[in-house]
């Protein structure tokens, strides 16, 4: 009997090793270990053995059974692994095939720039405020030190809607509304839409966007203005950006400056982008005119402040190298998708 068990065991072992797929293995399991299997039959024959022989023989059969079970399990695992391997191999994809697109949208390039600016100035403690686009002559001009028939009105061609109503030519009107409602220290920016009667061409649009900044506190100087604008320029144009002041004139600031930033294209050496100047004019700024402070009930002998107005469209077109400002308002999807 012992020999027979060994024979079965050896035959089974070979058969398992030679088996080619899971079906075959299952058949082998049934053949040897099933209810009518060969090893099971051996167990059933135990009854014919003497009680002395039984334990040893029983152990032998069980050992053989366990061994076969292990072999079957191992073989199954092996096969599964192989099958997985085969499947994975068969499933190789062409990674250069097109992706299944995730349809996303996005904001307009002008607002990418506005959002960046808002982030920069909010981090410096500026509140973001809003103002009406249809302004009164009073807020757009009078309070900003530009009385009626003042030559400075020629600096901006204005759209009029009524006797004393106009489309704001600058976000500066928001300065006045802010100073009327808040007390120093004041730190606000006002991004928004402004209007000037400029014929449409590659660099002019009758509708464009500005960001006005205003700081009023005790002891504010041109150096504070420059510091804030340097921060701004370095965030927008890179950490090497330099800021230059050129004396200029705006009715609502005194002293007034035009502010240039070193050309980010050539680093200030002079190139086509900056027309050889090495500098690009980006905004106008200055110390809030004492008359403006006074008209808002702020004592210019106690407080001083600075204001600046940044052209958002200009920064957008230079940042993205957009050659024609009209593209911003045409809204071709292929254009918008680039931002």
């Amino acid at each position: 009997m012992k020999e027979k068990i060994e024979t079965i065991r050896a035959a089974a072992k070979n058969a398992i090793a030679a088996s080619a797929d899971e079906n075959e293995i299952e058949e082998l399991r049934v053949k040897y270990l099933g209810k009518k299997g060969e090893l099971t039959a051996m167990l059933k024959q135990m009854g014919s053995l003497s009680p002395e022989e039984r334990p040893a023989m029983g152990q032998l059969v069980n050992e053989a059974k366990q061994k076969l079970e292990t072999l079957i399990a191992e073989k199954k695992a092996q096969m599964k692994e192989k099958a997985t391997e085969m499947r994975l191999k068969a499933e190789t994809v062409d990674i250069t095939m097109p992706a299944k697109p995730v349809k996303t949208g996005g904001i307009h390039p002008l607002n990418h720039v506005v959002n960046d600016m808002i982030d920069i100035f909010m981090s410096m403690g500026f509140d973001v405020v809003d103002g009406p686009e249809v302004e009164t002559d009073h807020y757009n001009f009078e309070c900003l030190n530009v009385p009626a028939d003042h030559p400075a009105r020629d600096m901006q061609d204005t759209f009029y809607l009524g006797e004393n109503l106009l489309l704001r030519t600058q976000t500066s009107a928001a300065q006045i509304r802010t100073m009327e409602t808040r007390k120093p220290p004041i730190r606000v920016i006002c991004p928004g839409r402004v209007y000037r009667a400029d014929e449409v061409d590659a660099t002019h649009s009758p509708v464009f966007h500005q960001l006005e900044g205003l700081v009023v506190d005790k002891g504010i100087s041109m150096c504070d203005l420059k510091g804030v604008l340097e921060q701004f320029a370095q965030e927008i144009y890179g950490k090497d950006a330099k800021v230059r002041f050129r004396p200029s004139f705006f009715p609502f600031t005194e002293p007034s400056v035009e502010v240039d930033v070193s050309c980010s294209e050539c680093g200030g050496k002079g190139c086509r982008v900056c027309k050889g100047a090495g500098w690009i004019e980006i905004l106008g700024a200055g110390m809030v005119h004492p008359n403006v402070l006074r008209s808002c009930g702020i004592d210019p002998d106690v407080y001083s402040g600075f204001a600046f107005g940044i052209g958002i469209d200009r920064i957008t077109t230079t940042r993205y190298k957009i050659s024609d400002i009209r593209l911003l308002f045409e809204n071709d999807k292929r254009f918008l998708e680039q931002f």
Partner: protein, 796 residues
């Protein structure tokens, strides 16, 4: 203002190259529009002598010239001109030369004969008779004075000057003249400024024997000076004066007119010359025009005057529009013998107003509008008389009529050096501040740190310490300003709640695959017609721009849909197959028309979508997303907007307030935008959504007990909205309803006419226990009962 560099050098020493001068002026607040080098556009053109002329064998009109161009060997040039003779000196453009009109001249052959260049006419060199006598002759320019052959023509013509175009800011009217700019240059370069000191002799007699002057409105004419010059000797002006005038963009006419123009360019003070013999009653009256009066100005235009306009009248009628333009009748002509000369100050806003009303702007009115100095009025008159005397243009009668209502005192500003430095933020040495102010002709005395600055009337722009700070800053140098980091109390910047909400909506729209657009706030007056709105529709009450750039941009929009349709049309017509767009902007709703107060500016959003994957319900999905984001409880109702498909449009109420309208665009509206496919638009009242206080999010526990799913298939009238069915199910299911989902709507075969089959899956779940069969059956019956009363019968 354009000024010749040579003219400037008459008043100030300029010891640096022109480029450096301009750079330094820019940093002192004088932007340079352009530096034009005269003759820069003429290259390789030389003076040449005609040695020999022979006829051209193959042409009747061509001649062959042997030219001495200073190269030793003669050069052959063929010309078509006939006005030349052997021995003439003429300009010759050599091989590889350039002319002002851009022409590039190269050697070649003319009808078989070699020609190594071209002989030039005055016109070809960009010259007029004013530049060079004989320049206007039809033919080759014959040069005077036998220039050495080979001499560069620019040298021959004296074209070695630069014309600098200074951009003078509105606060510096005193710099709209040679003297003003020269004075600034002298400060910037630290060189001497030399103003002419007028001296002349009169021929005696007294002006009062010739004329009387009356100023009736000193408010509009604070100062008026008149002089008389007799026995005019009208002729051409000297070369230097003509060149200075031409460089500044004016045309020389004759010595008298040129002197008035030159003095204006030099001093900034406009002058006017009247023909004395045309002055009726020998009386000059400065007064407002009378109702119905007219004048014909120098340019031949007739103007109707109104009483707010100031005129210079004689005894009978207006003979000059004060400060703007003279009258035709009293014009100086070549045979004029006697002259009444005016130098005056007029109020700038009045000149501006009159000029705008009549549509006239002249060199003079431009200067008056910006403001001229009342003291300078006298200096300019003296200077004009000096020039008349020096150029022997006439005999000056003794005595001046000088009418004014008192001249202004100097403005005194008391300020400390510290107050000036505080604004700039730079520690400028006190002595430096004082010397800068003095150099700018702002006489300053110091008592320690206390300054007393005497501001002459010509620097009317200097009102207080801020202005003084600017003067110091621009001369001391802006590069001394060193940026300081933001300081003060640490504060947090905030956005307005509306902006935060809009940002969230934009984030949602980005996730929904939509692109933000930006369009103009004004539209054409007829845009709203394309929406087929009835005559009385509120959206037709639009604000018109009084001075629009054209009808296309004439009307403030009361809706964003027309702008959206234009963008959709642009994209569709460019063969872009699909798109989702949105805009967040403002509607302008007038409180009255015409408007007398600021209109309501209402934040509004528009959405526009098109393409094969889009329909009414994809747009509804976007709308629902926005509503959910805003915390709104929404309801949909049918409406009838004329621009939308009658069966595919809906009104959305957010918490019972109208918040949006959306739907498929009516095909005839789409067609008017050149769109022949289906497009879908929405207009959302952001003001309503922004006003909703979104409830705070509170966590809801995840379910512990299983859900039960039941399907309901029913038959109902085809017209019954599924919304009613959903309400019925919800009512029947009560608090156990977790979710319901429409999975089939069908009509057709096996369904009776006028009916439809609708099927819902319903999920029921209790938060506290597993639902028992008994509970489920009860809910089932309740749902069926409610469906039946809604008109839907369960399919057997």
């Amino acid at each position: 203002m354009k000024i010749s560099l040579k003219a400037l050098k008459y008043y100030v020493d300029i010891n640096v190259p022109v480029e450096e001068l301009c750079d330094r002026m820019v940093m002192a607040g004088f932007e340079i529009e352009e530096i034009e080098k005269q003759g820069d556009n003429i290259k390789n053109v030389v003076a040449a002598k005609i040695l020999k002329i022979t006829p051209h064998g193959n042409s009747d009109h061509l001649q062959i010239c042997q030219m001495d161009v200073g190269k030793g060997e003669p050069v052959q040039i063929v010309t078509g001109a006939q006005n030349i003779s052997e021995g003439d000196y003429v300009p010759a453009a050599l091989d590889d030369s350039y002319l002002p009109n851009g022409a590039h001249i190269v050697a070649g052959k003319l009808r078989g004969e070699e020609s190594n260049g071209m002989l030039c006419s005055g016109d070809e060199l960009g010259l007029t008779e004013d530049d060079y006598e004989g320049a206007a002759v039809n033919g080759i320019l014959i040069l005077k004075g036998n220039p050495v052959p080979g001499t560069d023509m620019r040298e021959v013509l004296g074209l070695d000057d630069y014309i600098i175009d200074f951009k003078i800011t509105a606060n510096r009217p005193d710099c709209n003249c040679f003297l003003g700019v020269a004075k600034e240059i002298s400060v910037v370069l630290g060189t001497e400024f030399k103003a002419p000191k007028p001296e002349y002799k009169t021929v005696g007699q007294n002006i009062s024997d010739y004329i009387s002057v009356e100023v009736r409105n000193f408010d509009l004419c604070p100062r008026y000076i008149g002089r008389v010059v007799k026995n005019l000797r009208i002729k051409e002006s000297p070369e230097w004066m003509k060149k200075a005038i031409t460089a500044s963009g004016m045309r020389p006419i004759n010595n008298i007119v040129d002197i008035t123009n030159f003095v204006m360019l030099e001093t900034g003070q406009p002058m006017h010359a009247f023909n004395y013999n045309d002055i009726a009653g020998k009386k000059i009256i400065v007064r407002n025009a009378a109702e119905g009066e007219t004048i014909t100005t120098l340019d031949g235009t007739d103007h109707n005057l109104t009483p707010d306009m100031l005129v210079i009248a004689d005894g009978e009628r207006p003979s000059c529009l004060a400060g703007i333009m003279g009258g035709k009748e009293s014009e100086i002509e070549s045979d004029t013998t006697d002259l009444f000369l005016e130098s005056a100050k007029f109020r700038r806003d009045n000149i501006r107003h009159t000029g705008r009303t009549l549509g006239i702007r002249t060199e003079a009115s431009g200067r008056y509008e910006r403001g001229i100095d009342i003291i300078n009025v006298e200096y300019a008159m003296e200077r004009a008389l000096q020039l008349i005397y020096d150029l022997d243009a006439g005999d000056i009668i003794d005595g001046a009529i000088d009418l004014n209502n008192g001249l202004p005192e100097e403005r005194i500003i008391n300020v400390t050096t510290d107050k000036i430095k505080e604004l700039i933020g730079v520690d400028v040495p006190d002595e430096k501040i004082i010397s800068i102010l003095n150099s700018l002709y702002l006489p300053t005395t110091a008592n320690g740190k206390e300054l007393t600055v005497r501001v002459p009337s010509i620097r009317d722009d200097v009102e207080g310490r801020a202005d003084l700070a600017e003067e110091v800053m621009r001369i001391y140098g802006c590069d001394h300003i060193v940026g300081k980091p933001m300081r003060g109390d640490v504060v947090r910047g905030r956005k307005l709640p509306e902006r935060i909400k809009c940002d969230k909506i934009k984030d949602f729209m980005s996730a929904a695959g939509a692109r933000e657009i930006v369009t103009y706030s004004f539209i054409s007056s007829s845009a709203v017609d394309s929406l087929l709105l009835p005559e009385n529709d509120e959206r037709r009450k639009q604000i018109k721009i009084i001075n629009p750039l054209g009808d296309e941009y004439s009307t403030m929009r009361t809706q964003l849909t027309t702008s959206m349709l234009t963008v959709l049309s642009t994209n569709i017509n460019r063969k872009i197959t699909n798109g989702r767009f949105y805009e967040i902007s403002k509607r302008f709703i007038p409180k009255q028309l015409p408007i007398t107060e600021q209109p309501d500016e209402i934040p509004t959003m528009s959405v526009g979508i098109y393409g094969d994957d889009e329909d009414f319900f994809t747009l509804k999905g976007i709308i629902e997303g926005i509503m959910r984001l805003s915390g709104a409880h929404t309801q949909y109702e049918r409406i009838s907007e004329p621009y939308l498909h009658p069966g595919r449009q809906a009104l959305v109420k957010a918490n019972n307030t109208v918040a949006a309208v959306f739907g498929e665009v009516h095909p005839s509206v789409a067609a008017s935008y050149g769109i022949d496919s289906r497009v879908y638009v929405a207009e959302i009242k952001l003001d309503v959504l922004l006003g909703i206080n979104k409830r705070k999010t509170v966590y809801k526990p995840l379910p512990k007990f299983p859900a039960v799913e039941r399907d309901f298939a029913m038959l109902c009238d085809a017209e019954l909205p599924v919304g009613d069915i959903e309400k019925a199910i919800a009512k029947g299911a009560g608090r156990l309803l977790e979710r319901l989902e429409l999975f089939d709507v069908y009509s057709g075969s096996q369904i009776p006419d006028g009916k439809k089959s609708v099927a819902y899956s319903v999920w029921l779940r209790s938060a506290n226990s597993t639902l028992t069969d008994k509970e489920i059956d009860a809910v089932n019956s309740a749902i069926i009962k409610n469906l039946e009363s809604a008109g839907a019968e369960l399919r057997k």
